[in-house]
Amino acid sequence: MAPDDDYLWDKRGTPDPEVEKLERALGSLAHPERPLVLPELPSAAPELPPSAQAPDRWSFRRAWLEHWRTTPRTPALALAAAIVVVIAATIVWQRIESRRGWEVASLEGAPRAGNRVLAPGERLTQGQLLTTDASSRARLKVGDIGVVEVEPHSRVRLIAAAKDDQRLAMEIGGMRAIIVAPPRRFQVKTPSALAVDLGCAYSLEVGPDGGSQLTVEIGWVSFESGGRESFVPAGARCITRPGFAPGTPCFTDAVADVKNGLAMFDFGVAAVPGAPEDSVARRMTGLAMVLQGARKEDALTLWHLLARTHDDERAQVYDALAARVPPPTGVTREGILRGDATMLEHWWDALGFGDTATWRRWRRPWGEVASR
């Protein structure tokens, strides 16, 4: 490389005067490094292991013991009464704790909750880890809104079991969920994304590398990570990998070129022999494979690609989608290329998956929707 390329690359060698001039001109736009203000994290943070939740269980008892230690000595009768109150409170506390969690409806083999083997009728309590081996599986009631079936070779942890907030963290393995509830009442956290139920039945597999595949059987699921969302309808799947936004959803019966193309486009995987080495070229090749192989039904995939592309790429996606599902009145090529959100939603409405109100609704409390 010429000396000026070295300077452009790592600021060594003979400075390129034109590069230096641009640095001087543009440096005034650099990050001003304002102080960062962080919010407090929610107290029921799912990242905390069960042991970190233990202090909540014991703090009530410690408070009583501290009160006992610091107050003046009481007559024997008052002391006995205090001990009885503490014991009664502990018993009540344990009964309340035991009612939380998900009930085990049925099981095969010997699934474990922590160190003990679960039995039908028992509960997986908040914070507990459920483990299944090669010959075991468990069917759990998710409050009163549905069921989760945990497959063999799985590890799942119950994060929340409240009336309006049912959450699971899936570390590895497979599960199937059937949920009948307002959107967002049930969520499953994987190492690479968050699956948000929008009223559906779906299966979810998490691999050892933290990547996951979500396949929807009925209804819709939103897969979220890194601020990017994928809306996955019945008959479609979505793949995630750690460090990446959720993949572009596609129907399970899409042709191989579409699936392989998405693997290259979304994750830079060399999904076909002879895939380019360069990441940019690989992405472009993957996109071309998707656009060429997409059927009319794959408009779901093409629509999601509009938001994942820019400039020339977006123009190619537009042309491919328009050839399969003509944009409705009011949706223009120029508007889509500049990213007009309203036009994007109108085009979605024309794809036949239901109007945008269906999945916009999940952003609002159920009560607001019901009152409209």
């Binding site: 490389m1 390329d5 452009l8 690359w9 790592d10 600021k11 034109e18 590069v19 641009l22 640095e23 001109a25 543009l26 440096g27 005034s28 736009l29 650099a30 990050h31 001003p32 490094e33 304002r34 960062l36 203000v37 962080l38 919010p39 994290l41 943070a45 799912p46 990242e47 956290k189 190492p191 690479s192 994304a193 968050l194 933290g210 990570s225 890194g226 601020g227 990017r228 750690p242 460090g243 990446f244 936004a245 360069d278 990441s279 940019v280 938001a307 994942r308 820019h310 400039d311 020339d312 790429e313 500049r338 990213g339 007009d340 959100a341 994007l344």
Partner: protein, 170 residues
């Protein structure tokens, strides 16, 4: 990835605000540069805060500390794209740019030309020319390969020079 970065990421993932603050110091320029490559400066500064707050609340979803830079870069990129969808279109590059009347005007004129470049070039050039990151630093922070960064810088600069020459009749 250096050991201290791994330590910071793990600590921040466990709720250590000071550790996350160090990550902000370390990656703030990268996030700002990515946002600036897509939108106006005023918006970029606000969005930097948004991106880091979102990262703070979603640290638990980061399975691999080594992927932090790429994860954060993608978050910034996605936020920039979302902001683009809701924003009115930016003023298109005018080939008849007036002569810059001040250093700031010149900077705005040039950044508009940079934003008109293909995406893979514009981000890398902004990180290099605006934020002052070297090519190796860009590769390490964003998770891109050094080879890709170097190609983007070289081709992007060539295209930028060509367009600047066309605008100013050089």
């Amino acid at each position: 990835m250096s050991d201290d970065l791994a330590t910071q990421v793990v600590a921040a993932r466990g709720g250590d605000r000071a550790a996350f603050g160090q990550l902000y110091q370390r990656f703030g320029r990268m996030v700002h540069g990515i946002l600036l490559a897509h939108g106006p400066r005023e918006e970029a500064e606000d969005l930097v805060q948004e991106v880091f707050v979102r990262a703070w609340t979603q640290m638990g979803s980061l399975h691999e500390p080594a992927a932090f830079g790429g994860w954060l870069a993608r978050m910034a990129r996605n936020r920039a794209i979302d902001a683009l969808r809701t924003r009115r279109p930016m003023t298109p590059v005018d080939p008849e740019l007036p002569a810059a009347s001040s250093t700031h005007d010149e900077a705005i004129a040039v950044i508009q030309l940079v934003r008109a470049l293909p995406e893979s070039y514009r981000e890398t050039l902004v990180l290099r020319l605006v934020e002052g990151l070297s090519g190796p630093e860009i590769a390490e922070m964003t998770g891109m390969t050094p080879g890709s960064v170097r190609v983007n810088l070289h081709r992007g600069m060539a295209l930028l020079k060509e367009r600047m020459g066309a605008v100013h009749g050089a």
